[in-house]
Amino acid sequence: MFLSMNWISDFVDLSGLDKLDLIHKFSLSTAEVENDIFFKGSDVSGIVVAEIKSVEDHPNSKKLHLLKVDAGEAELTDVVCGAPNVRVGMKTAFAKVGAKIGEITIEPRPLAGYMSCGMCCSEHEIGISDDHSGIMEITDDVPNGTDLKDIYEIDDIVFEVDNKSLTNRPDLWGHYGIAREFAALAGRPLKPLDVEDLSVYDDMQKVDLKIEDPLCYRYSCLQVENITRSVSPVNMRIRLYYCGMRAINFLADLTNYLMLEMGQPMHAFDSRKVGAIRIKRFDKPFVFKTLDGVDRNVDENTLMICNGDIPVAIAGIMGGLDSEIVEDTTTLTLESATFDAASIRKSTVRLAHRTDASMRYEKSLDPELTVPAIARFLNLLKKYDNGVKVVSALTDEYAFRYDTVELSFTKSFVDRYTGIEIDNDTIVKTLQSLGFKVKLDGDTFDVVVPSWRATKDVTMNADIIEEITRIYGYDNFEIHTTRSPLYPVRMDEVKRNEEKIKDILVKRYSLHELHSYVWAYYDELKDLGIEVEDNIKLANATNPNIETIRNSMIPTQLCQVKTNVGYSPEFGIFEIGRVVTGMTGDNLCVEKKMLAITLYSKTQEVKDLYFKLRDILAVITSDVKHKLPDFAAIEPTHSYEHPVNLNAVKLDGEDIGVIGIVHPTIGKKIDKKAAIVFAQIDMQAFADTDNAPIVYDEPTKFPPMDYDISVVVPSNVLFADMAKCWADEGKGILKSAKIVDSYDTEVFHSETIRFEFSSHERTLSSEEVQEIMNSIVANLGKIGVCLR
């Protein structure tokens, strides 16, 4: 919203004050002012009122005319002018020699062979309207030679306030409300508005009016006739233009002017079309033509202004074409009303039509404004068109009144909330300057909130704190730290694990952390042949491509691998992110935080890559939890899983995740020649397993003893099966067993297993080791593992 300092100055005397500084204060205390401040008229000077005394056709041009103008000087001035609307006796804006318009300085110069000593200007050239159809026509009775700036408010400082920062301030949607803030900030009084006394018309006939719907809070109207003026006064047009509106005609301009001044939208109907004003909703949707000529689909939730049963306006948004003021309108009905803010907002959204009026209604306007707005409107109307006659009594139906907001708080409350000392006098004066009624009794303040702040904005004591402190100025605050007891802070286990795991993956395994989206991207998955599995969906996705929330991060990562093929012949990626794996009994999403890792290699065999990933998982569990994972083969359930080597990852017997190889159909689509393996770990399940303590194993003084055996292992026997063969045989001295060599021939698979024995008490004898080994070999034999 654009604001004019001239307009603001109508209501508060700011003379002698630095206007820019005030605007800056306003920005810090009230609402955000955009950076660009416009110094209107600053690039225009030397323009005077001049009368055209003679007009002759230019001998060398069809468009140009030779004029003699009276610019208030002893002699007439010769001017060559190309405007179509020149005529003798017309007064216009004339840039004398030496005048400045923008970058141009007016100098005498020949135009098609004739000297022109100045320029007649259009309003557009002066910068006071968009009109460049002809030169400005001045109808005001002023002497020739008068500087235009002496009669018109061409000079002005215009600034823009971010509408968003006014969302909660219905009172700031007009200059008068803004002026109140400036008055408070400058410590100067706010002047009352000039209004007409409407009570003098009380004896006249009332308008037939009935509010039939609670969404209309208040409806006030007045009928007037005999409006003869059609063009608005120049100053009014300048203000409208500077504030971003175009002048249309006097009546339309005046309703706009009033809205920009008081924030109250108004509408004028042709009285013939609104004999019986009814405000209501309709049972069924229908089509309604608004005054901009557009047919709009209005549904049954939309509040309408009607003439009996005929809709004539969409309440708070826009009038209808049929009830508009037209050429032969004699009597008009002025509407000034208040409607339910949420209803207007929703109607605006449904109609996809936001207007200056609806924008204001959405903010919960003060119903107390409707009558003063009419009184002010009439004041301006009479001022500029003195033949106007009021032909009805003020008709005012006030269906819903906000409660008066009265608050009571103590000085200590203010002290506690602000943390600084603001004295009682400052508090009282600040609140009074903003229109609050304040009574100070001892240390207690009793405050009545003004109606324009009481519609939703100021409802409780904390709101009062804002009023006091913002005018006090946050820059003036003395700042200090808090006094609070000490207390140890414990990290959440999932979070702690997360950070450790990230470090392991990045620092030890050189993996890359990526981020992704929480939904499944249909297009990308389709390209890879990965089926989008049914899951909870977005209800309002604007992009159908992202409708389904993912239930696993692995498809996401496979897409990312595809993105990065070509980055390097080998890389690994990971992410700790979220998935939804199902619904609870209460129909709530089961959200899980997952660690997903995917390794890609063109240089490694799939087996090596798979084992690398297995080792990564083992390092994670042993570093974070000090224990090793188990694995158990599972059947594939997703299209991207290779049916072989798919394993559940277990910790303490609990499933915490999965490790597998990408299905070859999908793998080939990513890269024909690369191995791709993946794993996913449920972070909560992982965090829920107990941390094993680190148990210190004191180095033994006695020499250890290694015992190697080479065995032939049948294909169906896993290392885990063999491990059971020595699990109970170690007698406390078998410390570890590991594969130190393995090889395959066409007929068998052989492994060399090294058993390490040691004792803290004694030097081991070969007999006792041999005895254990005999038992182990016997056990191995039972599962078909024989010495080679």
Binding site: A31, G419, D463, F477, T482, L514, S516, I536, A541
Partner: protein
């Protein structure tokens, strides 16, 4: 020539022929071993007289000593020669050849998040995790945004078909945190100090400066007598830590339903230091984070009496901070999954 001289000569000859440490060991055994040739001389002494034995024995012992010394010298020489050969054989490496920098990387958000978390942890804040799918109550109702409140329009929320939603703001965690620590506040006087970083979602079209998925971090502190003065102090301290320099802050009124009073906090522009430049649109200030005193309704809804306790809350755009810190121009790079863009962030801190 006597036998002793012969042996001495033979030894010299053998030594001169020996070029490696293995052969020299053979020479040692041959001459000085238990069954070696010098020892054998002593065996031939039995026929000699006692006087002769004494003289001959002394000669043999002398030979033994000198032989051992000669052999040791030879070994020493050979060893030195071997080291010299090794030194000579060492090629000269080109240390200026490019280093192999292959290593992993953190997502820039992780880096910025860790920096922020470290600052807050140092001031005794807990770091809270919160789900991404939340209820309407968590995201709106509980933080003073009732149904039909215009603030719900301000943020275009992704709703799910079951009525839940993807959280549009980290504030969705406020209520749960107030409840989690409320008893400790009320019973033990321990202030609530928490930060809650998280991923947020807005249903909007993406471009270089808009993302539908981004990270925020919110924080709050609740205790008796927490004031606006504390809030400003805290924000200034916190942001000075974040930006590792003394930042100037200014507060302007801002409207957010969950705070009252609410503020927009600006810091003096990092690029121009407040002089005005294109980054700050020549204002000298950057709008950085919304903050304010926690709205009494939010405290009440979290089970905390607003007449007894007050608190402040603030939000920080982690995505925005990451972009500022690393001068990332296009926000979409962050979720692009592209290693070309993201593999550059190799170290934390």
């Amino acid at each position: 020539m006597d036998r002793i001289s012969e042996l001495r000569e033979e030894l010299e000859q053998k030594l001169s022929q020996t070029t490696d440490l293995i052969s020299i060991d053979k020479v040692r055994v041959d001459f000085l071993g238990k069954k070696g040739r010098i020892t054998a001389l002593l065996k031939g002494m039995k026929d000699l007289s006692n006087e002769e034995k004494k003289t001959f024995g002394a000669k043999v012992n002398k030979l033994k000593e000198s032989a051992a010394k000669r052999i040791d010298e030879k070994i020493e020489n050979l060893r030195r020669a071997e080291v010299e050969r090794e030194i000579a054989a060492m090629p000269k490496f080109d240390i200026t050849a490019p280093a192999n920098l292959e290593r992993g990387s953190y997502h820039p958000i992780t880096l910025v998040q860790r920096q922020c978390e470290a600052i807050f942890k140092s001031m005794g804040f807990t770091v809270e995790d919160y789900p991404e799918v939340v209820t309407d109550y968590e995201c709106f109702e509980s933080v003073n945004i009732p149904k039909h409140h215009p603030a719900r329009d301000m943020q275009d929320t992704y709703y799910l078909t079951n009525g839940q939603l993807l959280k549009s703001q980290t504030s969705a965690a406020q209520n749960a945190i107030l409840r989690k620590y409320g008893d400790n506040l009320k019973n033990n006087g321990v202030p609530i100090k928490a930060i809650f970083p998280g991923r947020c979602f807005r249903n909007e079209a993406t471009d270089a400066s808009h993302e539908n998925t981004f990270f925020q971090m919110e924080g709050m502190m609740v205790d008796k007598d927490i004031s606006i003065s504390n809030l400003i102090f805290f924000m200034k301290t916190m942001l000075s830590e974040v930006f590792k320099r003394d930042v100037k802050v200014r507060l302007r009124p801002g409207f957010f339903p969950f705070v009252e009073p609410g503020f927009e906090l600006d810091i003096n522009c990092l690029i121009c230091g407040g002089e005005g430049c294109s980054s700050c649109k020549h204002s000298g200030w950057l709008e950085l984070c919304p903050c304010g005193m926690i709205h009494p309704n939010v405290l009440r809804e979290g089970g905390i009496d607003p007449d007894e306790y007050t608190g402040f809350a603030f939000g920080l755009g982690l995505t925005r901070l990451a972009m500022m810190e690393y001068k990332i121009k296009d926000i979409r790079d962050l979720n692009s999954g592209s290693l070309k863009a993201l593999a550059q962030f190799t170290d934390d801190e």
